[in-house]
């Protein structure tokens, strides 16, 4: 049975607590229904359960601030404050020891905080509307923050980084020339919300070098802010308006602030509509605060909902994709306790967690292998917003995009959902012995248990052919190739390792990459969607077919990235490259047999202009070449950057400045060309472009900056030797 057919609350009707909670939620649902002019009675059907989910979400929203003042997932700090304030003062929300009504994260977390509706305590009193509670809770929150800000002036537990920097700097015998380093901007100083990060708990005392960096950074902020303020006067910006902008911005949670800065700085990473929304929303909020009451403002401010932006289904995605994306976006908020600096660890955790949540919320079913996917009608129009309550429970709230482009929680009935949702079946392969499905790309498994996911490794060949048998990735034949056969190949978003038969033949490529690994749209003809629609198979929706083709194109693009890396690897990778090329051709052939001529004629064809690199195959000679190349790169970096550091401090040679870029992917470096007007960025970009011009080493190779320069140097040295 698809678990979506039952809510957790209904799974154990004999449980008194569950019945109590069920009653409470049904009551909450009825209240919601009354407000919406509807009435539901009896056991909820599927439509009602969706509706019930909305009521639950709204009930939870009573305890958090909406929109700009409290993103459900981003502004955890404010949520906690609001929880404390509202839970304390709003009579129909009380602490109980009953089981949570939604998915339980851990028993331990249940014990910590389990706010629930308790209809026994307040069976008659009509709950306040969410807006009333938003408004009252928000006002209390602002008041508490203002008081905290006022107290902070005399609070020894609140540190000021600038004071700390000045103190440390002057203790070293130096003197800060400008004693008025405090930011002059009135708007900044009017911000009432002190950062909790400034608390002394765990406070890191600045050393002299850090103090210098901090002072210089503050000086940079001062100059930048001063320039804005002087322009504001000339532009006749209304008095206090910039202060309101700053206030609205600073009321955001840290996560949302980072997202805002990112959206502004990295235009190519964010949709224009999203950037518009951020700035337009903040402007509107700022204007409104000049003229409107807090309660009215709160209602309008909810337009800024980044969770919807992250949770929106894109083409070829299932619910697990968007859940994973939201988890990866705010890992700490959602309970990640691993190493945040390890992107792979965060990603793997987010995927595992996403399937776990999907399983528990009914969007995936291990038993049947079904996962909820979204067809073309729902793409960009439906969002599955992940929420984690203070009691550690997870919930998924569905939102639909309105005519105004804003995502909102709405009544969604079954017929409406059927227009865009469908159940996608995949015979995923928990081990290499299970034959992958012909229908689904092997990189898109569904219905995992957590344990299965940990061990899952899809194997190609896929798309219908049987996986190879008697494989080994542990004992690849010695001497079969110069490189390490078990080495993980990383290329862009895709990574994996090759498999070999006992006689050393490359027979498989294992990747743990889930979901689309690369954008393969460039490989498809412009009219590929209509071509697919004209080849509709028995009872299969267009959305499914389009997703399959899109997924296969994405896979080919991923393989192309792997091939690009292999071609630049400096060892004999021909068997691996040939294998992947064969796979690409098989995918194209099979796909076009099923769906028509969807791929461009050039798809899967090796580029004629790809650089040929004739590096030594002898390991000793190759090692020497790589060492020479590394030294050449070091010398080049020193010559480019001299002895100046980033701020001209704390650096004894140019290496330190360059280190900031060393591990950055080349593609990422080039994307921000013209974005950051920094002399250092321009220097590094010039180094990379010069290396490309000199050697022909593809910029799209997936290498980071340091590796790219080393590889180019090796090619250059070898080419020089070859011509002698």
């Amino acid at each position: 049975m698809n678990p979506r057919e039952t809510l957790p609350i209904e799974q154990n009707p004999s449980n008194e607590n569950n019945l109590l909670i069920k009653e409470a939620f049904l009551r909450a649902k009825e209240n919601e229904a009354e407000r919406r002019g509807q009435k539901h009675k009896g056991k909820p059907n599927k439509e009602q359960r969706v509706y019930l989910g909305n009521a639950i979400a709204d009930a939870r929203a009573v305890r958090v601030a909406p929109g700009v003042f409290g993103q459900r997932t981003a502004n955890i700090e404010m949520q906690r404050d609001m929880d404390a304030l509202v839970t304390k003062d709003v009579p129909h929300i009380v602490q109980t020891k009953t089981e949570p009504a939604t998915i339980t994260e851990t028993n331990q977390e249940q014990k910590i905080m389990e706010p629930k509706f308790d209809m026994k305590t307040n069976p008659v009193e009509k709950p306040k509307t969410p807006l009333q509670n938003y408004s009252e809770g928000y006002d209390r929150w602002v008041e508490a923050k203002r008081k905290a800000a006022a107290d902070a002036k005399n609070d020894p537990t609140i540190k000021n980084w600038q004071d700390e920097a000045i103190e440390t700097y002057e203790k070293s015998g130096k003197k800060v020339l400008d004693a008025e380093l405090a930011l002059p901007s009135g708007s900044i100083n009017t911000v009432v919300t002190p950062s909790p990060a400034l608390k002394t708990e765990g406070f890191h005392t600045l050393d002299i070098e850090q103090a210098e960096i901090m002072l210089k950074a503050q000086e940079g902020l001062k100059v930048a802010d001063g320039a804005v303020e002087s322009r504001a006067e000339n532009a006749k910006v209304p008095i206090g308006f910039l202060g309101k902008i700053a206030e609205s911005y600073n009321k955001m949670g840290d996560g949302l602030r980072w997202l805002t800065v990112g959206a502004l700085v990295y235009s190519n990473k964010f949709a224009p509509s999203f950037r518009w929304l951020m700035v337009g929303g903040l402007l509107s909020a700022a204007v409104a605060t000049l003229y409107m009451s807090a309660s009215s403002l709160l209602e309008h401010a909810s337009v800024i909902d980044t969770s919807a932006a992250l949770a929106t289904i894109r083409e070829g995605e299932g619910v697990t994709h968007v859940l994973s994306r939201q988890l990866a976006e705010n890992p700490v908020d959602f309970g990640f306790t691993g190493n945040l600096n390890d992107a792979n660890e965060v990603k793997e955790w987010s995927i595992t967690k996403a399937f776990d949540i999907a399983e528990k919320t009914g969007y995936a079913d291990t038993a049947t292998g079904l996962e909820t996917r979204v067809a073309s009608d729902g793409i960009d129009n439906v969002a599955y917003v992940l929420q984690k309550g203070p009691d550690g429970t997870f919930n998924v709230v569905e939102q639909l995009k309105g005519d105004d482009g804003i995502f909102r929680i709405q009544d969604i009935n079954n017929s409406a959902k059927n227009a865009y949702e469908y159940q996608h079946g995949t015979n995923f392969a928990p081990t290499t012995e299970t034959e992958p499905s012909a229908e689904a790309p092997a990189t898109e498994p569904t219905g995992f248990t957590e344990e299965e996911l940990k061990t899952w490794k899809p194997v190609i060949p896929v798309d219908g052919s049987s996986p190879p048998t008697n494989l080994t990735t542990e004992e690849a034949p010695v001497g079969q190739e110069a490189g390490n056969p078990n080495a993980l190949v990383e290329a862009g978003a895709m990574k994996g390792s090759f498999q070999y038969s006992p006689n050393g033949e490359v027979v498989g490529f294992i990747t743990n990459e889930l979901g689309a690994s690369a954008d393969g749209r460039d490989l498809l003809n412009e009219d590929w969607r209509s071509t697919v629609r004209n080849h509709s198979l028995n009872g299969v929706t267009d959305g499914q077919n389009i997703s399959v083709v899109d997924g296969r194109a994405s896979k080919i693009a991923g393989y192309e990235q792997v091939i690009a890396v292999l071609e630049q690897d400096g060892v004999n990778n021909k068997p691996k490259i040939d294998f992947l090329r064969d796979q690409i051709q098989d995918i194209i052939t099979k796909t076009e047999a099923e769906y028509g001529n969807v791929f461009k004629d050039t798809a899967g064809t090796p580029p004629e202009s790809s650089s040929h690199i004739n590096l030594p195959t002898d390991p000793q000679a190759l090692a020497q070449l790589n060492a020479d190349a590394a030294k050449a790169t070091d010398d080049h970096i020193k010559s480019v950057f001299g002895k100046a550091g980033w701020f001209g401090i704390g650096a004894d040679n140019g290496q330190k400045t360059f280190e900031a870029f060393a591990e950055m992917p080349v593609s990422e470096l080039l994307e921000r060309e013209s974005r950051i007007p920094s002399e250092e960025v321009e220097k590094v970009i010039k180094m990379v472009r010069d290396a490309n011009a000199q050697t022909g080493l593809p910029l799209e190779s997936g290498l980071n900056v340091r590796d790219y320069l080393d590889r180019a140097a090796a090619i250059d040295i070898q080419n020089y030797k070859n011509t002698k």
Partner: protein, 98 residues
């Protein structure tokens, strides 16, 4: 690009990698605030005088949709405007931090 990646990239480019995380957050947070204000000033610089009254009227109504429509009408190239202001702010920051 997620928040963590944004964070790492920005910190590298701003040259504040040596600072404690909390101090980094403060610098980037304030920089974002200044960028937003810079964008706001640029919008006002582009607004004709007779549009300011309309701007205030929309603000009084608190109509989010009208505000978006208003901005799109007067600032059709908002994305480019944002890019310019980001550049301007970061340039000023870099110069001040030298």
């Amino acid at each position: 690009m997620n928040n963590q990646e944004l964070r790492e990239v920005l910190i590298k480019e701003l040259g504040i990698g040596g600072l404690p995380k909390e101090a980094q957050d403060e610098v980037v947070g304030k920089l974002g605030e200044i960028i937003l204000k810079s964008v706001t000033v640029a919008i006002f610089e582009r607004l004709p005088d007779d549009a300011r009254k309309e701007f205030e009227d929309i603000g009084k109504k608190g109509d989010q949709d009208m505000m978006q429509e208003f901005l799109q009408r007067y600032i059709p190239d908002m994305s480019e405007l944002m890019d310019e202001e980001v550049k301007r702010t970061l340039k000023n920051f870099s110069e001040g931090a030298k």
